[in-house]
């Protein structure tokens, strides 16, 4: 029972702190560009503002358009529930593994792409087609990188895989390095960051994610924005806890939990800075370079897997 309560608390914490992480990235980014930065809590204010506003719906909007914000938000929250944030071995981790996680995100993407086309504007359809192109190439990479890990840990369950790395001691596995780079590249692509997509642009013709949600307003937009913040955090928590799980709580005592919170906060802050530096020195790449980028990420994850088979699995 306490386990379920813990799981619920962790999931809530995930959902509630996602805007904070987005605010952190924004802040660091402003600093990196010599600009005055908004408050860390600006994303919360933006979400509150949007939630208060009325919804403007297109005449041609079908139920898909109206249902999509809820579907996307729910699937993203469910995905967040599966990812170990501060504690391992919670009951939620037993009900779903990494394949389900990818499935949740895929379902959200599917509905978002449908909603982009639902209204019939040129921008929405354009965004949907670009998103599906990126998604079709990114999902295999995501799966492959996690499989690399799964081969070492002999499980696709995230909690167990993390605990495998945690208790395996400080071993440098070449396969993990490949998988790490692959996963970081795919995280950038999947969360619509530079150089794949520019979350801050107003230029409709260049948009991917933003083009699909261009027609949304009010609470619908708030849910979609929030969902994309959660998604961003899902990816970065995955990176942080799979490749550097140290600090995560294996037991549920107050001390270990507090340590777990502190550890993940530090890791996310650090990863946020890495992301910002990457985004600051890069321009967005041309759309037709994206398949090459993701192809390279796929190659890395494949190499990771091969390295595991060749270098690491002998001797058992």
């Amino acid at each position: 029972m306490i386990g379920w309560a813990m799981a619920a608390v962790q999931c809530l914490l995930f959902v509630a702190t996602a805007p904070l992480f987005a605010g952190w990235i924004k802040r660091v980014k402003c600093r990196a560009q010599n600009r005055a930065a908004p408050s860390l809590f600006q994303p919360y204010r933006d979400l509150t503002k949007l939630l208060r506003k009325g919804v403007v719906l297109a005449y041609d909007a079908s139920w898909i358009f109206r249902a999509t914000p809820y579907v996307v938000f729910t699937t993203t929250v469910l995905a967040a529930a599966v990812v170990p944030l501060i504690a391992l071995r919670l009951p939620t981790s037993a009900i779903a593994d990494v394949i389900v996680l990818v499935g949740f995100l895929g379902l959200g993407r599917f509905f978002l792409a449908l909603a982009g086309m639902d209204i019939g504007t040129a921008f929405g359809g354009m965004g949907s087609s670009r998103e599906m192109m990126i998604g079709a190439l990114a999902e295999p990479v995501l799966l492959m990188t996690v499989f690399t890990l799964a081969m070492s840990a002999s499980t696709t369950n995230l909690s167990e895989a993390v605990s495998f790395t945690l208790h395996g001691g400080l071993v440098i596995r070449p396969s993990f390095l490949f998988a790490l780079v692959g996963l970081m590249m795919v995280a950038v692509a999947e969360t619509g960051r530079i150089p794949i997509d520019n979350p801050a642009t107003h230029l409709e013709l260049t948009m991917v994610h933003e083009a699909m949600i261009l027609e949304y307003s009010g609470r619908y937009l708030a849910l979609l924005e929030w969902a994309s913040m959660i998604k961003l955090m899902v990816y970065f928590v995955l990176i942080a806890n799979i490749f550097a799980p140290w600090g995560i709580a294996s037991t549920t005592t107050p001390t270990t939990l507090a340590l777990g919170v502190l550890a993940i906060a530090l890791k996310l802050m650090l990863l946020g800075i890495v992301l910002v530096l990457w985004e600051t020195v890069m321009a967005k790449m041309r759309l037709f370079r994206v398949p090459q980028y993701l192809g390279f990420a796929f190659l890395l994850s494949l190499l990771g897997m091969l390295t595991h088979v060749i270098l690491e699995s002998g001797g058992h």
Binding site: A122, A200, T201, L205, M282, A283, K284, R286, R289
Partner: protein, 524 residues
């Protein structure tokens, strides 16, 4: 061959009479051409390798005049045809000069001159909201117009269609996200590849040409400053130059220098802002903010020293309205000393970044042959091998005393246009320093004297977008009867359509920004 030889050749090849000497129209010569030979004129001019510069019509109570300005090697010629009100048809120049197409559509829409053999019968400036036979620039048309209570939608413009499987259409605008002016862009695309782009402009038609009628010189200068806010100095200068030439008014030396300093300041401000904006369009936000910061510092000093961030209304007929004191001169020098290394450094950062290079190089390629065909001007032309700059090739004071370096590239892509603008910025710093150093003493304005008789004049100024040609005609009371400012955007907008071909849809914003035509300057 001397520069003016071609003008004699052209004049002798068509039925024409050289007009009496028109000092106001210098450096151009006026040539009256018979209406029947109007098309032949274009054909011969094309064979001679002339550039088509501008075209405009004018309703004179007894007749309708149609003008076309041509240029070669810095020598200008204004050809003029007289038409009777009962037969307002003229052969088109468009079959020979693509550049003439939109201008002739504009003249057809506003003056009601029919151009035979013009390949495009669609309206241009005058949207569907106007009645079929309402020609706003005819004398009988009231300046206030007769707008209907509700403007009918402008929704039936027949864009060029593309057919085939997988071809789709993307309408963009006229209302855009972000703070830019209204204009409609229609893409025909397959996947992300652009098959064709068609522009539809005219949404910011303000009736500049019509409301200029009846103004005095000072009021016209103010109006000219509002044709396009980002090049207010150059437009005001061109309008004042035209009026001063028409009335043979001398301008004090010092005023020439101050005008040029302001014009160069305007060039720097816009180049800095736009280089940053190009970087923003490829999501290199760091560059955007740095260039925006430099531009802001720059415009703030303009405000402090000259009284206006964009230096609007600082140029007046007869001189300038504001003087520079020694402290101001020092402040400008000091700012250039501080800014130059920063600009150089930022340009180097942008040029050394491989991801930016990948976005800008080969993107939006404008072939030099096509660029010449379309008569593109300014940095758009200079990035595609067109080595022309009014300041150097048809120098007007104070540039006749200065050596003007003109950066020219042949790559024709976005990167080349950015390079030209970077080089022009750095050279403008040098020009301002030289102008400040040589700034003569004396008064800053001579009192305006309206011409006693009907007189015409043209002004030619190299604005930051390129050559601006302004035509004015005074009536016998010293009031304006015709004002036509030809913004360089008229000739650069069509280039954007062409350079987008075979690019991908998401590269449009950066291509558009690299050309940065003025909507307002074009729509008038």
């Amino acid at each position: 061959m001397s520069a003016s030889d071609w003008r004699e050749q052209l004049a002798s090849s068509v039925q024409s009479t050289s007009a009496e000497s028109m000092p106001g129209l210098a450096p151009a010569q006026l040539l009256h051409v018979s209406a029947a030979d109007w098309g032949k004129l274009a054909r011969v001019a094309k064979e001679l390798g002339c550039r088509w510069v501008a075209g405009w019509g004018e309703d004179r109570a007894e007749e309708i005049l149609v003008n076309a300005c041509l240029e070669k090697k810095g020598a200008y010629m204004i050809a003029r045809a007289r038409l009777d009100h009962t037969a307002v048809t003229l052969p088109s120049h468009t079959p020979y000069y693509a550049a003439a197409s939109r201008s002739e559509r504009h003249t057809r829409d506003l003056v009601g001159v029919h151009f035979s053999e013009h390949p495009d019968a669609r309206r241009w400036t005058r949207h569907q909201a106007w009645a079929e036979h309402a020609y706003p620039l005819r004398k009988e048309f009231a300046a206030a117009g007769a707008p209907p209570l509700q403007t009918p939608p402008d929704d039936s413009y027949p864009f060029l269609q593309a057919h085939g499987s997988g071809v789709y259409e993307i309408p963009v605008g006229p209302v855009h996200a972000g703070i830019i002016e209204p204009g409609h862009f229609r893409f025909q695309a397959v996947g992300e590849l652009v098959l064709n782009l068609e522009e539809h402009l005219g949404y910011v038609h303000k009736g500049i040409e019509k409301i200029a009628e009846g103004r005095d010189a000072a009021a016209l200068a103010r109006l000219a400053g509002r044709i396009s806010g980002d090049c207010t100095v150059a437009h005001t200068w061109a309008a004042c130059m035209a009026m001063e030439r028409a009335s043979s008014l001398d301008v004090p030396e010092r005023a020439h220098y101050v005008r040029a300093i302001m014009c160069e300041r305007e060039r720097v401000a816009n180049h800095l802002g736009d280089i940053g904006a190009v970087l923003n369009d490829v999501a290199f936000t760091f560059g955007f903010y740095q260039f925006a910061r430099l531009r802001e510092d720059w415009t703030r000093l303009s405000h402090a020293l000259l009284g206006h961030r964009f230096m609007m209304d600082r140029i007046i007929p007869g001189g300038v309205a504001v003087d520079l004191d020694p402290a101001g001169i020092d402040a400008m020098r000091e700012q250039i000393r501080a800014l130059r290394p920063e600009v150089e450094q930022l340009i180097a950062i942008a040029e050394d970044n491989a991801s930016i290079e990948d976005r800008l190089e080969t993107t939006g390629y404008l072939d030099p042959v096509l660029a010449a065909e379309l008569g593109t001007l300014g940095y758009v032309g200079r990035a595609s091998g067109i080595d022309f700059d009014v300041r150097r090739d048809v120098p007007y004071p104070p540039y006749d005393r200065l050596e003007v370096a003109v950066p020219v590239y042949h790559y024709g892509d976005v990167a080349a246009r950015v390079k030209v603008r970077g080089a022009e910025t750095l050279f403008a710093f040098e020009l301002i320093e030289r102008l400040l150093l040589a700034l003569p003493d004396g008064s800053i304005a001579n009192p305006w004297q309206p011409p006693a008789s009907e007189l015409e004049g043209i002004g030619l100024v190299e604005g930051w977008r390129g050559e601006i040609l302004t035509y004015v005609r005074f009536d016998s009371a010293g009031k304006i009867t015709r004002f036509y400012p030809r913004d360089p955007s008229w000739l650069n907008w069509p280039a954007l359509e062409k350079l987008m071909r075979d690019n991908i849809v998401p590269d449009f914003p950066v291509c558009n920004k690299s050309v940065n035509g003025s909507y307002s300057g074009h729509d008038l």
